[in-house]
């Protein structure tokens, strides 16, 4: 069946299109982009006053399956993804067992195919069992479908192991996603170290716990010629290091989460454990630096670091709660609020960071609306006003500080591989 999307503002950064066009989808592919397409047989979607974007891609998601299906499953996680406007996601390997073997990779891919909501791309581990000691079978991981490798949640503590990881991965042309945290500096920390942690009497995590490891990994990337991607960058120091490294043509990219743009350490004053996240919510000054980094291209990608946790795990004293918040369903709206409404980014720039750049990093050949590409399309109503309420959450967990926030702008219709998976906000 064919689908015709009419009258929308089509934005495709890859082909530098930004204007009113119609898009025709046939056999799961984009077959035509033109003004005023007439196609009688097609299922017509009126996209007047809406933005027609390449399907959004989130490269930093914790699906929790296998192992913690009580927090999230591939089904609920991909439903949340579609609900938030994402047609593709990459999932982190800190599952149980960890995704350090072809069997787990295949399990995830098969399950995601059956569910058929968003495309799921597994990320393999850097080291066996994510223990930071021995190299994972990265060639096997790649052959079975991994698009990147990471020990996300932990840094590889030993620099010489990290060096070997980078060398080995670079020979396979696998991007290495770096969780940068010096755990001896962050030890026992539960929030950003600063004036707020001082008055709350909570143990702080200094900015330098992130930046010393970003610096280390950049240095090691330089000697190993690897491609590194800095996950969830949160500090001014980190942004500066990446900016400098890019000028030296080191192969480094970086991502930021929407919550590190919208929230800061002041939010912890309520002791709301949904604000407990790693890296922690930083200061207003760091937020400024992150936005500047997005604007000047230092930060390439926006990703949610969607990290579901049980209510019961979060309903404890601040220092005992696990780190993490869900984000798939608010990522776009928070980004609009923080970046479009404040004129940090234009719409084409935002879509570049939420679709094209993620695709390019992982080599997905998606993230564009060019003819013959897989028909992954997200239709966004930039004016839709809505409130993120508990009953609309598609994720299995509700650990988010954005509950009951009012937003303007959201994905309304999502097409994944030529199939309408959400129409007018209905999955």
């Amino acid at each position: 069946m064919s689908i015709l999307i009419k009258n929308g503002r089509v934005i495709d950064p890859a082909s530098k299109i930004d204007g009113q066009y119609d898009i025709l989808v046939e056999d799961g592919r984009i077959s035509k982009i033109a003004k005023d397409i007439k196609e009688k047989t097609a299922n017509v979607i009126d996209a007047k006053d809406k933005i027609v974007s390449p399907g959004l891609i989130d490269i930093h998601v914790h699906l929790r399956e296998p192992g913690r299906e009580d927090k999230e499953t591939i089904l609920t996680g991909t439903r949340a993804a579609v609900h938030g406007g994402f047609t593709s996601i990459a999932c982190m390997p800190n599952t149980t067992p960890s995704c350090d073997n072809a069997g787990t990779v295949k399990f995830i891919i098969d399950k995601a195919r059956k569910v058929h909501m968003a495309n799921v791309y597994p990320i393999g581990t850097l080291t066996k069992g994510r223990l930071g000691k021995e190299l994972a079978e990265m060639a096997d991981l790649k052959e079975s479908g991994c698009v990147a490798v990471s020990d996300d949640g932990d840094s590889v503590p030993d620099p010489s192991v990290m060096r070997r990881v980078l060398e080995y991965a670079s020979a396979l042309d696998l991007p290495v996603i770096c969780h940068c945290e010096d755990i001896s500096l962050s030890k026992e920390g539960v929030m950003n170290e600063g004036f707020v942690s001082t008055i709350l009497g909570l143990r702080g995590i200094p900015n330098k716990a992130e930046s010393v490891v970003i610096q280390r990994d950049i240095e090691l990337a330089e000697i190993s010629d690897a491609r590194i991607h800095i996950a969830h960058i949160s500090t001014r120091e980190g942004v500066d290091l990446v900016r400098t490294a890019k000028k030296k043509d080191i192969k480094v990219t970086a991502e930021v989460t929407p919550h590190h743009l919208a929230l800061n350490d002041q939010c912890v004053k309520t002791f709301d454990t949904n604000t407990k996240v790693n890296p922690p919510l930083r200061t207003a000054d760091d937020v400024k630096a992150l936005k500047a980094g997005l604007k000047d291209g230092t930060i390439d990608i926006i990703s949610s670091d969607h990290a579901p946790h049980l209510d019961s795990e979060k309903d404890v004293e601040y220092k005992y709660a696990p780190f993490g918040m869900i984000g798939l369903e608010t990522s776009l709206a928070v980004s609009i609020m923080e970046l479009i409404d404040t004129k940090v980014l234009t719409w084409p720039q935002l879509i570049e960071k939420m679709a094209l750049n993620p695709s390019n990093l992982l080599g997905l050949k998606r993230g564009t609306l060019e003819v013959d590409n897989a028909a992954d399309i997200t239709i966004i109503d930039p004016k839709a006003e809505w409130t993120y309420t508990k009953d609309m959450v598609m994720s299995k967990s509700i650990n988010t500080p954005f509950l009951n926030w009012n937003f303007k702008g959201r994905a309304v219709t999502v097409i994944s591989g030529g199939k309408i998976v959400m129409r007018d906000n209905k999955l």
């Binding site: 170290e193 600063g194 004036f195 942690s197 001082t198 008055i199 709350l200 009497g201 909570l202 702080g204 309520t270 002791f271 019961s312 309903d315 404890v316 004293e317 601040y318 220092k319 005992y320």
Partner: protein
Amino acid sequence: MARKKSAKWTKKDLLGLEYLSQEEIDLILETAESFKEISERPIKKVPALRGKTIAHLFLEPSTRTRISFELAAKRLSAYTIGVSGSSSSILKGETTKDTAKNIEAMKVDMIVMRHSASGAPYILSKAVKAGVVNAGDGSHEHPTQGLLDLFTIKEKKGRISGLNVSIIGDISHSRVARSNIWGLVKLGANVTLCGPKTLMPVKIEKMGVKVTYDLDEAVKEADVVNILRIQLERQKSALFPTIREYVRKYGITEEVLKRNRKRDVLIMHPGPINRGIELSQNVADGPYSVILEQVTNGVAIRMAVLFLLSQYKGGK
């Protein structure tokens, strides 16, 4: 008993001095003044809280604060129950919130909570209708200690505004320091903090205090020196080299006090004291020490707090 009519109590809980206005602090101090005399009577009991039930939820070891709260409640005729960490179902895996909710289900009017985690009473206060009194949470606040310190200073010096108050020791881990700073700054004192840099939390100057690492500097012009307990195990986490060096750099001795230019400095300590470490024997028991008076005043302050919270009429 000349209570000003300027401030009224409007809060369900006492969570910290950060959350109180200067007027509210004054109101508590004035109320405590009127309650202090009750403890001097042969029959130390008034009916102010008759029929009220107060649960003392002490999930971290405490002697002085717990006894002080118990006495305060009993002298106001409240009915009290005590739960301690070792006897509670916390050990059976129940969350603090569940424990508190269950206590509340038995219709308790107020919960006094001591907890090792910063913010625990804050979270509790949002979950229960009962009034919550923070009896010390992690390194966050110990508001009744802060208030009794203010009370003691005011009683001895007649005022707080304009006084030089130095707080010495492990500021980083001290809830007493934080509550004192909030209260003292709000009431117009000049606060100086002094201790090893490793025990000084970042950006603390933003609270409106001066920081020095030189003890003489902190003691020289002080009207009040409040000395904090040094946790001996901190040395093991590389926070200071040895007890010996700590005593030499930051121990308060008669020798150190000779360099104080004020003739009537107040020596305070929240207890328990490590005698011969942060405070020498002579100074602890000397003429400037008001340490036991702090303890006496603690009961009056806690009576005032429990009484005022019982006046809260709900946020209808």
